[in-house]
Symmetry: C2
Subunit: 339 residues, 2 copies
DNA sequence: ATTGTAAGAGTAACCGGTTTCGTTCAATAA
DNA sequence: TTATTGAACGAAACCGGTTACTCTTACAAT
């Protein structure tokens, strides 16, 4: 049966305090013999301290919350893995929450995490302004934002990719290849990263003195289906373009599929660059050229930040911007990686 | 600041018991006016009950453990999603644990879940016999096994795909198409599902009076790289085969890549069928014909089983076998789905 | 022999809730 | 008017741990 510290104490004929000391390896105050005896009893009975009880006693749960839109989105498994790995190595376990980009679900999950008194939260937020964050602040729960910045006064820890520069570099590359008619297929306008990426595109064109052609710019959402739809529309509208900057890899894949469906050769007739660098881009045939975010590194960095904050090692506000890398593969003609 | 039930009680000039009654909507014993007043104070102070404390008070954590090999493996996100969705709808949150197929990690995670006194565990196990399960049993923590059966006396709840029949049907289909030289590219022999799938292959050949050609059978692991390696070997050995049954979809994709690399046309010169039905099979070009496991359904079913057991609605042993479906796509010639 | 000190261990309060049981008091029945 | 009843609520024990504080006792120092 389930046994408690009292059971162990009773059997060992000592007090709960002594057993507790042994459990926590506080050697002071316990003779080696007593400690040994208690340890043997613990071993024999297979006793495991109730970590919930410990958590409430010393108000440290050793648990983290991880709130993301959807684990089914190929961008996130690696992020989750990285965070889980690092957290685990520090003795934390992590709660996974999928919000489906639904602000209500996000709110509900955050509250649930507050209720559990998690030590910290890593959040890829859907909403651009969550009032629950106020609550987090009130309950003194540290959190770090990943991928998507929020416009909120409480934010002080974050890890973001340099979306602007990533797209800027990619578009600059395309321009350098001689393209002037470059389409932009963006994701949902609801998230700020979409805007950042678009601005990278816009400014790269501007800096090359290429006027922005609005008919070459589409927005949808970050899915293959949307990529197909946007590209279909582009083709239908007979837009003249020779290259495409996609808002993410899924859109890029969708675009490739649509182009192929219309017998437009990639990269011969149209070069395409994606964004994110999910594994799929390597697997897909043709392998997608893309702006790679170091997802695992972002994950580790954010977990490190959070746990640093929890441990009081980080007190100031801190934003980490990671630089993405342009990786050229089979959807661009010159298949070598940029510096 | 963080406030507790005592704070609320003090401010409302009632006892903790009364506040507790209000929190739990136990209308008996509290006048509507008092309840209302307390609710207002709770609202105003943004008080949230500490669910850890509640958990230990009524020894129900409302938490589930989910132990899988690797969320990065495209098979698992959907499983995780399904389980999380169902659990969440029942008021449970879930801990995610990645074991990397490492028995030690699995052990460690299971212990950690025991320590947290989760109400139940869903386990895709690495080891074929885990002694920690004994511990689970001892602590009376219900668990359900998914995907991989264990040879252990404590197992009584499980959800598995009919691997044998899935492969049998697929191979039978290939034979029906006239193939006699069908290769089998299996995953790691460490998991029982590999054997089950192989046996489906073996028996389908046997029942068609086709002798088993050992040179057409390879084992590796469940990855694209392994699929490529096995296929390369097959080609190198100049094995004469006209169709391939892959141990899973990643192997199938690897095989397709290798074949394509050798300018062997799929499906014209070689038909291929995968297993699992991960999303990638639809995205990949050519779309992979595969034996689809209803992953989301498996997830829901296993969560349902677990929560049923937790609630005492399920008392007997129960194994659910889900039947996979053969879905024909672009790696087989006759692109229509079998019944 | 007396005092001082520190190691070993126990007592009890505490963490933040739930729940049983008992008390108070007003409304109703006799 | 008195007994009965039940609604409203409080006191206190409990869940399973941690920890500040106190008490013994043995041993060294004076």
């Amino acid at each position: 049966m389930r046994c408690t510290i009292s059971d162990i104490a009773r059997i060992a004929k000592v007090s709960k305090a002594t057993v507790s000391r042994v459990i926590n390896n506080k050697s002071e105050g316990v003779s080696p013999e007593t400690a040994q005896r208690i340890r043997e009893i613990i071993e024999e009975l297979g006793y495991r301290p109730n970590s919930l009880a410990r958590s409430i006693a010393n108000s440290r749960a050793k648990m983290l919350g991880l709130v993301i839109p959807d684990i089914t989105n190929p961008f996130f498994p690696n992020l989750v893995r990285g965070i889980e790995d690092y957290a685990n190595s520090c003795g934390y376990t992590v709660f996974l929450c999928n919000t489906d980009n639904n602000p209500e679900k996000e709110e509900q999950y955050l509250l649930s995490l507050i209720d559990k008194r998690v030590d910290g939260i890593i959040l890829v937020s859907t909403t651009s302004q969550s009032c629950t964050l106020e609550q987090l602040n009130k309950y003194n729960i540290p959190f770090v934002l990943v991928d998507r910045p929020l416009t909120n006064e409480y934010i002080d820890l974050g890890v973001y990719a340099n979306n602007y520069k990533g797209v800027y570099t990619a578009v600059e590359y395309l321009i350098g290849c001689g393209h002037r008619d470059i389409a932009f297929l963006g994701g949902t306008r609801k998230v700020i990263t979409t805007t950042e990426r678009f601005e990278g595109y816009r400014d790269a064109l501007r800096d090359a003195n290429i006027p922005l052609d609005k008919s070459l710019v589409k927005f949808g959402d970050y899915s293959i289906a949307s990529g197909i739809a946007m590209m279909e529309k582009l083709i239908e509208e007979k837009a003249g373009f020779t290259a495409v900057m996609a808002g993410n890899d899924l859109i890029a894949i969708g675009a490739v599929k649509a182009l192929r469906h219309h017998r437009i050769k990639v990269p011969d007739q149209c070069e395409i660059i994606g964004f994110d660098g999910i594994e799929l881009t390597e697997i897909f045939d043709p392998a997608i050229s893309t702006v790679v975010q170091p997802i695992y590194e972002i994950a580790i960095e954010s977990a490190k930040l959070l746990i640093g904050k929890i441990n009081g090692e980080i007190t100031s506000s801190r934003k980490i911007i990671v630089e993405p890398t342009l990786v050229l593969r089979a959807t661009t003609r010159n298949n070598k990686t940029q510096e």
